[in-house]
Amino acid sequence: MALKLADYKTDVHNDWCPGCGDFGIVNAIQMALAEMCIERDKAVMFSGIGCSGKTSHFINTYGVHTLHGRVLTFAQGAKIANPEMTVVAVGGDGDGLGIGAGHFVAAGRRNVDMTYIIFDNGVYGLTKGQASPTLKLGEKTKSLPSPNTNSNVNPIGLAIASGFTFVARGYSYDVRHLKDLIAQAVNHKGLSFLDVLQPCPTYNDLNTRDWYAGADLMDEAQKRHSRIYKLEEHGFEPSVHYNSEVEVNEKLSQALIKSLEWGNKIPTGVFYKNELISPYTQRIKDKIPNYLENPPAKQNISKNGHPNTDISKILDSLEV
């Protein structure tokens, strides 16, 4: 039965602020799932804590709203135990790059075949607008008593350094483009990361929708110059094609350099893609040959109410 976009929506009341960038992300996720015809009961959305954490309740697949900073741990556990699932994890920038930064880095090293989307708005919205890890040093958003005393983390750069094998950035008000990026991320064989710029209309009065649209950069002809541009429209080639150190280093370096671009020009699109790195499930399969056909979640563990596992060889070796 063909699934429609509406099938991926729940009827849960959405309590995000009017104009919130999160709406665009949820829509894009739902559109991508529908476009890829992913069966609802073979997909699971994991979410962290905060406004973005509610995302899993709005999407009509399995949904697991976890703990602050820990979304990747739950998601990886589920994917490893049942590699047949399509797993998408979402969370805020404070969630993933502040309290959860350790898990972010460790996830990159593992390269589990799933997708992680960060809703990146520079503030902790649900706790009333404190500075988050992506807010720049010295910036003062609306509810900060004084300018930010921390430097910002570079999500794209951190993902590249940590070993994510698909690294991209989207913009929540360009839903079609974001939907395409999500579809690419989900189809990617390995851990994909998507940094989504998402204006918080209530607490971030610096990186607003108008700011991204370049309202302040109007020229004499009153023409706006959007800060956001698409890498693919500028001939940027993010993919690693050969397993050569030279090419890998080149692609990593150009992605890192691009990730530093900010201010009047902000790149979106795919920064880096490498499918030559083995996904974690493959690494398990190398040790356990039938892991993919018979993963933990599929194994039958009993017969007539008793164990079907035969540990007699180990017991024999212990017997005296």
Binding site: V12, D41, K42, V44, F46, K54, S56, H57, N60, T61, Y62, G63, V64, H65, T66, L67, R70, L72, T73, F74, Q76, G77, A78, K79, I80, A81, N82, E84, M85, G102, H103, V105, A106, I284, K287, I288, N290, Y291, N294, P295, P296, A297, Q299, N300, I301, S302, K303, G305, H306, P307, N308, T309, D310, I311, S312, I314, L315, L318, E319, V320
Partner: protein
């Protein structure tokens, strides 16, 4: 025929083969039909600090160590300095004669506190601060000394076998110590050769050198050493006996009962269990293709717990294994598992806290923390095993409980059990039953994960099953799993979850909650690894005509008040025995039964209890000479 009850101690610097020496000795004794209770003590250190292994050998079932040592095999000075006074009358000390003049000050790993105590003792007995000094005291205590130059043994052997490499092979000292010991007690030599062959079965060359060294040393002892009071010539072997290490009980239990996912973060003394699981990750399945356990080393314990929950949501029996500090990090997630009714098992091999505490030493420190871990009210089970054999079967039960009641479960083990080596009856997986509770295989329409039911337990879906979509959240939720802040629904949901506690007490069989070893006027309440030394101490008292009762609490939360009250209704004196400072079980006991503990026997010096010291304290209690709080101190 006189009965055998013999304790052997081997010590040396960490990394010098103390453990493999003890393994060879234990294996030989077990092969010859004896029952074994061995225990390893070691510093938080990789190489150089003092480590020792005590192996008790008997021709009847034993459950603990005793204070007295009958034979000590030492190949360094520190072992002699630290243990000379444990060797009793007619016992023996095999030592390297090259060490006779070594001064305490030249042993850099002797800490200042110990040295001060030792010097005081030597001074009071007018002895020099040397190996000869302490050995004189040992001799005055009635110990027999067996000096032998380890160096010259290797030299002679090197000449005899025309293998010049052997001359400098000091890492053979452990095998020399073991073989001299076995020669001295007249253990038949065939078993020694076999044990070495087994232990080095993958390294033929090393096995050969070790066997030559063993043979030479064994013969040396039989020829050169005078007669020794203790003889271990072998006894009737119990059929189906295994020689098993502490962590193998829960690991084998997990394999057998179908735990297929174990994320973990390295921590002493818990990691051995996970490493063992990973070493045996591919599993034989009766009449089917092989199964497997995915063992994942995570970036921290928070991740280990998060992954474990993620695995459990797929319907996989999932567990993690940790110790106190790691368990502390898991507490927030425990609450998440609680509110989302996720079955997970956390195996906690406790050690001495607080904080890093004594990281390689024993303590039953985490009982109250386990009972109260996590913020907010949610149901969980805290279950404790009393010995290694029990831990195999308990692991099976723990997975049933967590799935039947859909609550997280903390399985308390400890360092004492983890680093013990014992003989026991071969584990029988057929005695484990598998009950997955309301886990669904197939779902039709209209599924609600947290549906209200008569017994308060909802049918459980798993990620990926058709029509089984559910939502989880750490927020309060409605029946589908979506967030709610409705005050009436909140009360219903809290009541639903918390009703599990009464159900657990109702459904788990009495014997699995509290095991009674007999109730007397004086009765002990205890939990966990204190069981073994208690049982042996009671046996000793029985020989003197003194009967003391003992109930072992296995289910610690929810607390089995009714069962405990009915067992203890005629008891006059209640004695709490456990390895922590505050008498944590005593506190739970009082809170739940409104009865006072009359005596506490506690130990928190980081060393496991011996049956000797429990016996001593119990005797004082019977004679009304005991303190209300008896604190045990044995152990180097």
């Amino acid at each position: 025929m006189s009965s055998v009850d013999f304790t052997w101690l081997i010590g040396g610097p960490q990394g010098s083969g103390v453990e493999s020496g003890a393994n060879i000795f234990s294996k030989v004794c077990a092969e010859m039909g004896y029952q074994i209770f061995g225990k390893r003590e070691f510093y938080s250190n990789i190489k150089g600090e003092h480590s020792y292994f005590t192996v008790r050998v008997a021709d009847k079932k034993i459950n603990s160590n005793v204070n007295d040592v009958n034979l000590m095999a030492s190949f360094d000075a520190e072992t002699i300095f630290r243990h000379y006074d444990e060797v009793i009358y007619n016992g023996g000390i095999i030592y390297d004669s090259e060490l006779a003049d070594v001064k305490t000050d030249s042993v850099h790993t002797l800490d200042a506190q110990f040295k001060e105590r030792l010097h005081k003792e030597l001074e009071s007995k007018n002895k020099p601060f040397t190996i000869s000094g302490v050995l004189e005291i040992a001799k005055e205590n009635g110990a027999k000394l067996f000096p032998v130059s380890f160096k010259s043994i290797l030299e002679s052997l090197s000449e005899e076998t025309e293998n010049p490499r052997l001359k400098g092979l000091v890492r053979m000292y452990n095998v020399i110590g073991v073989s001299l010991s076995l020669g001295l007690v007249k253990m038949p030599t065939g078993s020694l050769q076999k044990a070495i062959g087994d232990i080095f079965s993958r390294k033929a060359e090393i096995a050969k050198i070790n066997q030559q060294t063993a043979n030479y040393s064994y013969n040396y002892a039989t020829v050169k050493f005078e007669n020794f009071d203790h003889v271990l010539s072998g006894t009737q072997k119990e059929p189906q006996t295994i020689l098993v290490q502490g962590f193998q009980g829960t690991a084998l239990g997990k394999m057998a009962c179908g735990c297929r996912f174990q994320p973990y973060y390295p921590i002493t003394p818990a990691s051995d269990e996970s490493v063992f699981l990973e070493s045996n990750e591919i599993l034989d399945i009766m009449g089917d293709r092989p199964g497997s356990t995915a063992v994942i080393q995570t970036e921290d314990e928070i991740s280990a717990m998060g992954m474990t929950i993620g695995g459990a949501l797929t319907g996989t029996r999932s567990a993690t294994c940790t110790s106190g500090p790691g368990f502390a990090l898991m507490a927030e997630m425990l609450g998440w598992a609680g509110i989302n009714e996720v079955p997970v098992v956390i195996t906690n091999y406790q050690r001495s806290g607080p904080s890093t505490g004594l990281p390689t030493r024993h303590g039953q420190d985490d009982l109250l923390f386990s009972v109260y871990a996590g913020h907010g009210d949610f149901p969980k089970i805290v279950y404790a095993s009393g010995d290694i054999e029990e831990s195999f079967y308990d692991t099976g039960n723990c997975f049933n409980y967590t799935e039947i009641f859909q609550v997280p479960l903390i399985h308390l083990m400890d360092k004492f059990m983890a680093s013990s080596v014992i003989t026991c009856k071969r584990f029988d997986p057929a005695k484990i039953s598998i009950n997955r509770g309301k886990l669904l295989e197939k779902i039709d329409d209209g599924y609600r994960r947290f549906e209200f039911t008569d017994d308060g337990i909802s049918p459980r879906s798993r990620l990926g099953i058709d029509n089984g979509i559910f939502w989880n959240t750490g927020d309060e939720s409605d029946e589908t799993g979506h967030i709610t802040e409705d005050p009436i629904l909140r009360v219903k949901m809290m009541d639903k979850r918390m009703s599990r506690l009464d159900l657990i007490l109702k459904e788990i069989p009495d014997d699995e909650q509290v095991k009674s070893f007999g109730v007397e006027e004086h009765t002990i309440v205890s939990w966990g690894s204190a069981k073994g030394p208690i049982l042996d101490a009671l046996e000793m008292l029985k020989k003197e005509g003194i009967s003391i009762g003992f109930i072992q609490l296995k289910l610690l939360h929810p607390f089995p008040s009714d069962r405990v009250n009915s067992l203890l209704k005629d008891v006059k004196t209640i004695i709490d025995i456990e390895a922590n400072h505050s008498g944590q079980l005593g506190k739970l006991f009082k809170q739940n039964t409104s009865r006072d503990i009359d005596y506490f026997i506690l130990k928190y010096n980081g060393r496991a209890m011996t049956s000797t010291e429990i016996y001593d304290s119990l005797e004082r209690i019977i004679k009304k000479k005991a303190n209300k709080r008896e604190v045990l101190m044995h152990g180097a």
